[in-house]
């Protein structure tokens, strides 16, 4: 299936900014819902300053009539409800001469960094307009304005607001509907942006019934449940908390439980305990939590207890940049355990894939009696998007269990597949002790060379021999140049390749979903005939690139293209790499 297409000509990007309390995120979320209601696809990335409340905030939106997976290179429209500290978003909101800024003259002039980029500026007195409609808020004016500029139908705005404000009562709804209406009407007075004008012909009406509005964190939580998870131990951490907050009410509905732990050491050990008890289990965390969890993940390797750890990556090292994205936990996910400790590492490559990849990770962990790390990131986790629902793969937890009274039961018996039947407490006649100490086949501690060698082999081979099927990567396109990437860089890479294709440059995309264990044969096949390999990732040292160089025989010339977060990987920068390299 080729997903190559040039989305740049048919999408619109809008940033709504303001200081905390201005209602930026509310306006952005409602705008996304309006677009969804109108039949569009779209996404909203949240960006905010470090303050708990009251800091600068930006809702970064992109809409199209086809699914969008990444932010565009630039923004068409920047709306400033106010400009307090908004200059801090200069890098995250690229503007150019074709962009338009709309600000409230009572809130001062737009920041110089934006003006310097040549964007035109139009004024709209959000605050005064809202004041004139008692009970309304400036962000509702901004919502109407953005919808008007984007060419969204006013009926969709009204439908969304009516649904959303139902609880607030008649007066509140009437006021804010009026405010949105006023903002919508004001769009006519804003100087048309050339690219924008061409796009206002969008037609509403595509069916909504079969689409979802979902964040990657919700999606990962749902994927876990779909895969059969019924226990979660939770410790809050930005930007993974929403996975846990979604699971908290969801698990009891399907017969499961979520418990809050005292720290990440406890949360991961709790799920090792619950899974040892036979219940498929998950936790979610971010880099600092993953660091703390590594010892117990190693225990899960040694004791062969399936667990799933969802790591929503953020800027690192240490506390780093908690609320912003970076793909810099590749090293710790792949190598962060002591000893020779094979483990599964699965990376979703879209928001919808957060469902599927997590579901698959649960299935693999259970089938292979192994820990699985799901590498999501803040971009996926906290971005809300309109997506086509991912099909249920029917991949659920299927653990090979020992039956009662199994004769001469050996928990860690050496088998051809490396997988040995696991006795679940309560089963008579098969009691054993799960152990992080090296052990013999019975599970009894052993420091003998032979036992160590056999169990190391067993644990390595069960992962190496398993047939992972086609799901190990998404392969698209063809050509002598191959872009190899993973996770949230995939959307930008896909778009870059589409642009290159439109210019006659052929290239193929390899988006890795299974990072560990390495799949040398599959990669060799996918890259057969490639003469140039561009490895794209969002971190400072090229963690994926180094891993690929270590594990694979990559054909031809191999280059690393990378930059750290929090700036997202954008289509244009990958496109430039491709075109420059192709022409050289």
């Amino acid at each position: 299936m080729s997903k190559h297409r040039d989305q740049t000509k048919e999408s619109i990007s809008i940033a709504i900014t303001g200081s905390g309390g201005a209602g930026v995120m509310t306006a952005g979320n409602l705008l996304l819902e309006v677009a969804a209601q109108a039949g569009w696809y779209g996404l909203m990335v949240r960006s905010s300053g470090p303050q708990i409340r009251g800091g600068e905030a930006a809702a970064l939106l992109r809409f199209a009539q086809v699914p969008v997976e990444c932010l565009d290179d630039r923004f068409d429209i920047l709306i400033g409800i106010d400009w307090q500290n908004i200059h801090r978003f200069a890098d995250e909101i690229p503007l150019d001469a074709a962009s338009v800024m709309i600000g409230d003259p009572d809130q001062g002039e737009p920041p110089e960094v934006f003006v310097a980029r040549g964007a035109s500026y139009a004024q709209l007195a959000f605050k005064q307009m809202a004041k004139a409609i008692p009970g309304s808020w400036p962000n509702m004016i901004a919502l109407g304005l953005a919808a008007g500029l984007a060419g969204l139908p006013i009926d969709s705005v009204k439908a969304v607001l009516q649904k959303s404000l139902k609880k607030g009562g008649g007066e509140k709804m009437a006021a804010n509907l009026a405010a949105a209406d006023a903002g919508y009407a004001a769009a006519a007075n804003v100087p048309a942006v050339p690219r924008l004008a061409a796009r206002t012909g969008h037609k509403a009406g595509a069916s909504n019934a079969a689409r979802w509005l979902i964040t990657g964190n919700q999606a990962a939580g749902y994927g876990a449940v779909r895969g059969g998870v019924r226990f979660c131990a939770a410790y809050p951490i930005t930007p993974a908390t929403e996975v846990l907050e979604w699971l908290a009410p969801a698990l009891p509905k399907v017969g499961g439980v979520l418990v809050q732990a005292e720290d990440e050491l406890a949360s991961v050990n709790m799920i090792v305990g619950s899974s040892y008890g036979g219940v498929p289990s998950v936790t979610a965390t971010a880099g600092p939590g993953l660091s703390l969890m590594t010892e117990a993940i190693g225990l899960a390797v040694a004791a062969e207890v399936p667990i799933v750890v969802i790591d929503v990556m953020r800027g690192g090292p240490s506390t780093g940049i908690p609320a912003k994205s970076e793909q810099s936990d590749v090293n710790i996910a792949l190598n962060g355990l002591h000893g020779d400790a094979p483990r599964l590492v699965v990376a979703p490559n879209s928001i919808a894939d957060c469902v599927t990849a997590t579901q698959w990770a649960v299935h693999l962990a259970e089938a292979l009696q192994s820990p699985a790390i799901v590498l999501s990131d803040q971009y996926f986790g906290q971005t809300r998007a309109v997506v086509d629902p991912p099909a249920d793969l029917g991949l659920v937890a299927e653990r090979l269990k020992a039956s009662a009274g199994a004769e001469g039961y050996k928990r860690y018996a050496l088998t051809e597949s490396g997988i040995s039947p696991m006795a679940i407490p309560g089963t008579p006649g098969t009691a054993y002790t799960a152990d992080g100490l090296e052990h013999n086949e019975r599970g009894l501690p052993s420091s003998q060379a032979g036992d160590h060698m056999r169990q190391l082999d067993k644990r390595a081979q069960k992962l190496a021999q398993y047939d992972y099927g086609e799901r190990w990567a998404d392969l698209e396109g063809e050509g002598e140049l191959a872009v190899v990437t993973f996770g949230s860089c995939t959307g930008a890479a896909r778009e870059a390749l589409a642009r290159a294709a439109a210019e006659g440059i052929k290239a193929r995309l390899v988006s890795l979903r299974l990072l560990s264990p390495a799949q040398p044969a599959s990669v060799a096949k996918a890259l057969a005939g490639a003469k140039r390999v561009l490895v794209v990732e969002q971190n400072h040292t090229g963690q994926l690139y180094r891993y690929l160089r270590a594990e694979y025989d990559l054909p031809g010339e191999v280059r690393s293209f990378r930059h750290p977060g929090p700036l997202p990987m954008r289509p244009d920068e990958i496109h430039q790499q491709i075109t420059e390299w192709s022409r050289s």
């Binding site: 019934a209 226990f231 439980v257």
Partner: protein, 278 residues
Amino acid sequence: MNTPAAAAPLTAQAYKSDYKPIWCPGCGDYSVLSSFTKAFAKLQLRPENIAVVSGIGCSSRIPAYTNCYGFHGVHGRSLAAAAGLKLARPDLTVVVASGDGDGYSIGGNHFLHACRRNVDLTYVVMDNHVYGMTKGQPSPTTEPDWDSKLSPGGTGLRTFNPLVIALAAGANFIARAFAGDPNGTAEVIAEAIRTPGFSFVEILSPCVTFRPEQREWKQLVRPAPVTSTEDAARAARRIMTDDGMNIGVLYKADRKPYQPPMGKGKKHPSDLEAEFAL
């Protein structure tokens, strides 16, 4: 707590495995193991319905010496693993074995929160005031002047009073036992298992190798001169003022155990999709 067996009564021997302990001759932990199996026999629990969970240290080797399901995890985290197991599998009887290093030092935070969370677990800490497995370093319960290679001349630090901490943190059942009295200890463990909620049993278990002077404990221990109380303030006064040698159940309350309803919800995962649908 699981249901007692209906068939022929199980003896203490039925709960023992054929695996030989690594402990030094004379170690108090042998007696504690025997108290475990006696307590299980007293309650007539099916071995397969018991899980013995531990961390790292001499005392934490206990699980494999029983014929029950065992979990020998990482250092200090036994209470977390045990809580996960019990919450996911409320039908099991979960007993946790630990020591003063594993339980009070590296696992100290989990101790606080296990008391507070009050999951129906029995937590048995074999306290010998020393790290034995690493061959003789001071633990949180070691006397400040105890000389060792790692702390020449002693740590100079006051000792940790685990019973007071358990009480302050919300443990529902607090007892002290002595390894030299395996029958009495078995009684206490059985009562701890029988009592819903988080039960904490501190067992004075001599380390004859690194703390040979602890052989004298058998002359020093005595039954607590008073019966157990439900009054936390009274219990606190007693625990804080005794010399650490009073044996018996010292505090017992009836706080409701923490057990969110596992397995109650009957929805299918796809029923959850409605909240995402446009």
